[in-house]
Amino acid sequence: MTITEKQQELLEELNLFQDWTERYEYVIGLGKKLQPMDEALHTSDRLIKGCQSQVWLDSSAKDGQMSFLADSDSVITKGMIALFVRVLDGESPEDVLTADLSFIDKTGLKEHLAPTRANALTLMAAQMRKGALEAGQQ
């Protein structure tokens, strides 16, 4: 599946929910299903600064595929980052770098977010791209 297809699939899933409660519960659930990130990886260089909650992101590349590990002390934030991970994990550094991530605007989640949280999403996306850029240069 391409990044665009994965985004489309996610949006279709989210659109199944009429109620904001269900949509949030689904996103929180996605966060809980993320591959666990070892506490030892909660280092300051993996911490995304500028979020009201703490978010850690670890990016690595193996055989031309990006792999992301993420964690947060906020379950909603963790769910949001799980959306990105689901879309970008396993893709090539080039594809991560050029991916259009505007799907997040269509999830109906961002409009409910405080500007600080919405800003956190932008920071997360930037951090994932940075990981891809570094992987591409190696």
């Binding site: 949030y24 929180i28 906020s74 379950v75």
Partner: protein
């Protein structure tokens, strides 16, 4: 008895829906909503008498000056100041703290090695200006520790006081925990060593009767917007003799007596500290807000809010994993957390349900560190909040907690 339902009709902003749910505004410690009396006062000023004050020969300027000075008298009376000249219009509490820190720093009253005492409950606004002053003059900042129940360790305070202490700055009510500090005691102890006292009244002004003579403080500060008034206007009360003695901090129009290029002589208080055109409309509308509070009666407001805050504490206490911060006899604000739940997540879900609460460190990072937390969820109350809103907050919290667990 205060009737909050009747009162709500005077606050247009409260009658709206958020995400299809009625707005429940419980962020009053950050800012209060404004009654029609205040909104009308601002509008009336611009529609009828807008003009620059003082030294105006024409009718409008005279009317604006009179309204501005009447506002000063209203506020002086509300704080039980000895005279209206003890009331300085500032842009808010932060501005008032900076005024005192700056003027005090320029006076000959401070020298290297002196000490200033603040408390561990302070807002960053009553911390950073003193820190900056200390850095500039080589003074030491001492901090009254906070006990586990969220009150100040007043025995430790006594130990901190010495002849090196030149100023003690504390808040009357903690914005983070709602702790009511014994400012009468704190000021009288400070006086014994000859230190000046500054009380940050940002949180107390909407909830308590303030008598500056009874408190015995040298300075008392508050913001208009926390007491049903507009933003951008605040007050510094200062004892008259002290205000005469302190040098000005900002230069400009109004604060001068005579200017030549060789030397300027300064005006008397309060004008000495009011450089430039003030927030005229703000001051007048603030007096309207104070009148609004006086008409309701601060003791009936306090009684009503105490009922709300007690019931909120009961409701939260019954929920699984709840921690409530601060002492039981709190005022204005109630801070809490739930085990394993991020306050930010809870605040986000409550917002979805129409509840306006604040999450985070409440500009009190040292206090949060003291309790080993990054922040809390805070509900803070005003006269227009109802017991129904409190009960519905309980239901909303249950729902949100279920989603997050």
């Amino acid at each position: 008895m205060l009737d909050p339902y009747k009162l709500r009709s005077e606050f247009p902003i409260l009658h709206q829906e958020i995400n299809g749910k009625p707005l429940v505004y419980l962020d009053n410690a950050a800012t209060s909503q404004k009654p029609l009396a205040v909104l009308n006062s601002s509008r009336d000023y611009y529609e009828r008498i807008n003009s620059n004050i003082h030294r105006g020969v024409h009718r409008l300027s005279q009317a604006a000056t009179a309204a501005h000075e009447t506002a000063r008298q209203t506020i002086a009376k509300h704080l039980n100041a000895s005279r209206p000249e003890e009331i300085i219009f500032t842009s808010g509490t932060t501005d008032s703290v900076n005024l005192v820190a700056s003027a005090f720093g320029r006076s000959s009253r401070l020298k290297k090695g002196d000490e200033i005492i603040i408390s561990g409950l302070e807002h960053h606004s009553n911390t950073v200006p003193w820190q900056m002053l200390c850095e500039r003059l080589g003074i030491t900042l001492k901090v009254i520790p906070v006990l586990i129940d969220g009150t100040l360790d007043l025995d430790a305070y006594d130990q901190l006081l010495s002849e090196r202490t030149k100023l003690v700055a504390v808040n009357h009510i903690s914005n983070a925990f709602g702790t009511v500090n014994n400012v009468i005691h704190i000021c009288s102890q400070a006086k014994k060593v000859g230190a000046l006292t500054f009380v940050d009244g940002a949180q107390s002004i909407p909830h308590l009767s303030i008598d500056t003579q009874l408190i015995g403080c040298d300075f008392y500060a508050f913001s208009g917007h926390k007491v049903y008034g507009p933003t951008g206007i605040g007050i510094l009360f200062g004892k008259y003799d002290l205000l005469c003695d302190l040098p000005p901090w900002k230069g400009g129009g109004e604060m001068i007596k005579e200017v030549t290029f060789e030397k300027t002589t300064y005006n008397d208080p309060p004008f000495k500290f009011e450089a430039g055109t003030p927030n005229i409309e703000g001051g007048i509308a603030l007096a309207a807000a104070i009148d609004f509070v006086d008409n309701l009666g601060i003791s009936s407001i306090n009684k009503h809010e105490s009922l709300l805050i007690k019931r909120t504490a009961e409701i939260i206490d019954e929920l699984e994993g709840a921690t409530i911060y601060g002492p039981d006899d709190r005022a204005g604000a109630l801070s809490f957390n739930f085990k394993g739940i991020h306050h930010y997540d809870l605040g986000t879900l409550l917002d979805q349900m129409g509840f306006a609460l604040r999450t985070g460190h409440h500009c009190c990072q040292p206090l949060m560190s003291r309790f080993g937390i990054t922040g809390t969820l805070r509900a803070s109350f005003a006269a227009y909040n109802t017991i129904e809103e409190v009960e519905s907050l309980g239901e909303a919290l249950k729902k949100a907690l279920m989603m997050l667990r």
